[in-house]
């Protein structure tokens, strides 16, 4: 027998399986929270598959061993009545046991997921259309670090993330590390996670939040503790002074153009909190909320035509002369 749909189905399955690995996959857990969720996923999938197969088996048996129509439908057969009762009772008890067992598993996993430890790092993440404001909290004001769209964490230490939103509801989700948690205007949520292995994990807004929802990504970078501390100290420093003529010209342009109306570069006169903090922009791996990889060409493209890359984004198209673009790009790329 041939199945004409078999090969498209196989292609589809392989496409779906392709999503199971890589930097953004709930089935490739890199921390205890994601491991709990992945285990729960496989148990639920296994149990539900077994239930479905059992139902299909019973259905097949019923179809194959069909009893012939009785001559008198009103005449009851005590033996087959009792057998039906046994089958139905067994199915009800089995269903109840399955539901109770899965509920208990789910509850126990939730308790583990929402267990709170003393965090090694506390980060406040504010969701905005369509980027993530990231602030490392500290008791010392000069140790507070603001960055955007990239979260660095130490490996093996619990990290607490406070979630807020200023415009609409977003959802914070890094599938390899933890489950979704919403960012809701006017409500403070919190999530804790631990990264077990060093690496770069991609996250994504998981609550439809408008036009560029799909381009609201972020990266979580897990580093060994000493490298993380070095990164944090570097981020806490003000922006590097431009050292050559072109970058100096770029800094002047930044202050004279529309850039300064929305962005902060600590250590300069730019201090607006509307857009992402650009103090160490050049050290990031991506721009525009994990939409484009960091490169001179992409920075230039983003400055010249943000509305072409992310239509509807809050960064407007600004008129910039061609001889102004290079100094601006050099200045921004040099903010390491």
């Amino acid at each position: 027998m041939r199945f004409p749909l078999a090969s498209p189905a196989a292609v589809l399955v392989f496409c779906l399986l392709g999503g199971c690995s890589g930097v953004q996959s709930a089935l490739n857990p890199q921390g205890p929270q994601a491991a709990h969720l992945a285990r729960l996923f496989w148990i639920f999938t296994g149990v539900c598959t077994a239930v479905w197969l059992a139902v299909m088996l019973v259905l097949l048996v019923g179809l194959v061993r069909r009893t012939p129509a009785r001559t008198d439908p009103l005449r009851l057969d005590a033996r087959s009545e009792r057998r039906s009762l046994m089958v139905v009772a067994g199915a009800v008890v089995g269903t109840l046991l399955t539901v109770v067992a899965l509920t208990a598993l789910s509850y126990l996993s939730q308790r583990q997921l929402f267990a709170r430890e003393r965090p090694a790092v506390t980060i406040k993440v504010t969701g905005q259309q369509w980027w993530w404001d990231v602030r490392y909290e500290s008791d010392a004001p000069d140790k507070i670090v603001t960055t955007a769209n990239e979260i660095y964490v130490p490996v093996g230490a619990p990290v607490s993330v406070k979630l807020a939103a200023t415009d609409v509801i977003h959802s914070f989700w890094v599938p390899s590390l933890f489950g979704k948690q919403d960012l809701i205007p006017g409500q403070d949520n919190e999530i804790q996670f631990t990264a077990s292995r060093p690496g770069v994990y991609r996250g994504q807004c998981a609550e439809f939040c408008g036009w560029q929802h799909a381009h609201m990504g972020l990266l979580v970078v897990a580093l060994p503790a000493n490298e993380f501390q070095a990164w944090l100290a570097a981020q806490a420093a003000p922006a590097a002074e431009p050292d050559d003529a072109e970058r100096k010209r770029g800094a002047e342009l930044f202050a004279a153009k529309a850039c300064i109306m929305c962005h902060t570069i600590r250590g300069t006169s730019a201090g607006s909190r509307v857009g992402p903090d650009l103090t160490h922009f050049g050290s990031r791996k991506t721009i525009a909320s994990a939409t484009l990889p960091m490169s001179r060409g992409n920075i230039a493209a983003w400055i010249v035509d943000p509305q072409g890359i992310k239509p509807g984004v809050n960064m407007p198209n600004v008129s910039i002369a061609s001889n102004e673009l290079d100094p601006l790009v050099s200045y921004l790329a040099g903010l390491r």
Partner: protein, 184 residues
């Protein structure tokens, strides 16, 4: 037959409503940034009504709810409230009364934003893109009550005397004697 006509008319009415939310994202400003970038108001000697310029070319900004609400957002983001306090005025003049020192036409307001005015109003030429200046001007017109009510944006949540309904605590359980519930 009659039903078909009614359906067509209803669909046309619905389609006509789409225009209000038209969102031009890459509008002309980048190419034509300097078309209106000249000071529009002249100095007139002595007291007198300000000269109003009505080219009409930018009237579309105050006829689109999208532009007005963008203007409202930018009004907050660019800290216009720092001096004008949500339109009520502070160190800058009030924007929701009927006194318009430099004219109330959208062209005059845009010129005030772009070129600045004596005694405090800074010039935002080159700092705020041209289309955003027109959006803010449209919002200022809305503050002054010049804009149609279906276009004007609603008041900020934080300007209400109490918090938004979704943030209020749940009301107490219904009293056993309706009508005699004691206020807290």
């Amino acid at each position: 037959m009659t039903r078909a006509v009614v359906i067509v008319i209803a669909l046309a009415a619905v389609a006509a409503g789409c225009e209000r939310e038209d969102r031009p994202l890459r509008s002309e400003p980048v190419l034509n940034d300097n078309r209106d970038a000249i000071a529009l108001a002249t100095n007139a000697p002595g007291p007198g009504a300000p000269v109003e310029y009505k080219s009409g070319a930018r009237a579309q900004y105050e006829k689109t709810a999208f532009h007005v609400s963008q203007g409202k957002k930018l009004f907050t983001w660019y800290n216009c409230s720092g001096c004008h306090a949500n339109g009520g005025g502070g160190s800058g003049p009030a924007l929701m009364d009927d006194v318009w020192i430099y004219g109330s036409a959208i062209e005059n307001i845009a010129a005030s934003i772009r070129e600045g005015r004596p005694n405090g109003m800074p010039a935002f030429r080159g700092k705020v893109p041209e289309d955003q200046i027109w959006q803010i001007a449209a919002y200022v017109r809305a503050l002054g009550g010049f804009v149609a009510s279906d276009v004007a944006s609603s008041r900020h949540d934080q300007l209400y005397a109490h918090e938004g309904e979704s943030r209020l605590p749940s009301p107490p359980a219904a009293s056993s004697q309706p009508g005699l519930a004691q206020p807290k």
